[in-house]
Symmetry: C2
Subunit: 263 residues, 2 copies
DNA sequence: CGACTCATTGACCAGACTCAACACCGGTGG
DNA sequence: CCACCGGTGTTGAGTCTGGTCAATGAGTCG
């Protein structure tokens, strides 16, 4: 979602996948973009925050071979839907996603935003069915990692096992923090915390921590934060008046990280 | 606030410890395990919903041998604290716990309640440090499973690996649902949902789904649900007036599950 | 250019919070 | 045995944050 660098700079390999996009199908096609070919983790800019983190070169190679390839997902299309059978995990290679939980009754809820290097789909493991929809916030590319192969590799490659468990655990911690936010923070604090979170994730990826573009709508942000879109808009305006940031539509510049944090 | 449990207090004989003061543990007094010996998963009533689920008998035996034994945690004492080094996972064998996330600034937040058969501590995997406090809601007993041994076993026993991944994923899904609750449900809906959740967990363990004792305070419930203790109290009173339940202090009887669900 | 989605801002209102008083309950100690 | 006490739970009154409804503006795409 948030990269300020040009797409091409991030995509590298993925760029040609984008270039060769087929005419947009009504439903996302699930076939691998590069069937058979490895996913080239070794050349991926996100390898240090992804599944391949802290692996030796030859283990990265094995992971690569397990990859089913890439898949492109166009803006607003779904990578998977709640109820779909769970078969693979996905790693965002380029672009960004939101995950949406839809209760039987009641409004749908955005449960997370995912950018390059993040893994999506871990909620599907427990009952072999995806528990949410994953929707692309822009034209995106994911690496497809069949779960049974990952399981097998985890039994053989200890660092991979460790990294995978770390990622699962990190998701638990992330959600626990989000629960805390939803449970006892004011609307202002939620928005400030959200912006700082985005900022930190940018920094971790080598992008600007203070200047970025929000890929999601105000409504998405509101849903994620448990407030209305009007409140998000008002809060951003207020922060702007106070000189904490500059906002123009989806473009955002944070002017005072400390003051935001003090909320 | 409360005195800490001495580290040396590793359990030798949980049954005896418990029998002397026990209020009403969900788990029947089972035969004591010798110190250092396995935890006797085979005879544990919770084996179906715990780590040993769907394991062959001899694999259960291996898991047993990996167990470091039991540990008792008395009412209001901590199993671990945020910041403690992560070394083991815990499975609640008897009693119950709450987990508390404490932000640098701001009020602490109850992130979960755990009863017999539940696993605690999975948040510690990602950076080898516990991210929350786990506090006993009553005198309790946990099985202690050193994490490095679990990792090793998961590389050898495929069904155990699968079960462990399921448990991690289930925690992610549980939290996602809780986020949804915190994000867009009214106070009444939150309380109703909470009660139905407790009810379902009791049912899954073979206890009464309609009649039980809440081990936590109104304040705990409120923190967990993102409302104040007064709101919890008022809502319970309202539900009682409407004939949906009968409440007397911590004792609760659900009289109309469907009507609660309709909230 | 029109149609649409998305964002901003204002006015009003209600659900939940805060503050406060009081009841209850189990334990403790005189 | 009773008085006392701290922690807990209930209930009421007043307040305010954030939701709802509505109008308008800005941006985008065919």
């Amino acid at each position: 979602m948030y990269e300020m660098l040009s797409k091409a700079e991030v995509l590298t390999d993925a760029a040609d996948t984008f270039a060769s996009c087929e005419p947009r199908p009504p439903v996302p096609a699930s076939r691998p973009a590069a069937a058979g070919a490895g996913a080239r983790c070794a050349s991926c800019m996100m390898r240090h925050i992804c599944m391949a983190a802290s692996l030796e070169a030859d283990d990265v190679e094995r992971l690569d071979r397990a990859m089913q390839g890439w898949r492109t997902v166009r803006h607003n299309e779904r990578l998977f839907r709640a109820g779909d059978p769970f078969r693979s995990l996905y790693a965002v290679r380029a672009g960004s996603f939101k995950t949406v939980v839809t209760p039987e009754r009641g409004k749908e809820h955005i449960s997370g935003f995912f950018m390059a290097g993040d893994a999506i789909g871990m909620d599907g493991i427990c009952d072999e069915t995806h528990a949410c929809d994953a929707i692309a916030l822009e034209d995106s590319v994911v690496c497809v990692l069949p779960y049974h192969l990952l399981e097998a590799l985890c039994r053989e490659i200890k660092p991979l096992q460790r990294q995978f468990h770390r990622m699962l655990s990190a998701e638990i911690v992330r959600e626990a923090n989000q629960m805390m936010l939803l449970g006892n923070m004011s609307a202002e604090q939620r928005v400030a915390s959200f912006l700082l979170g985005i900022s930190a994730r940018h920094r971790a990826r080598g992008y600007s921590a203070t200047s970025f573009v929000l890929r999601m709508t105000r409504e998405d942000i509101g849903s994620y934060l448990g407030v209305t879109l009007e409140t998000v808009s008002r809060t951003l305006s207020k922060f702007q008046h106070e000189g904490l940031l500059a906002v123009q539509g989806k473009s955002l510049e944070l002017l005072n990280l400390d003051a935001l944090d003090a909320r």
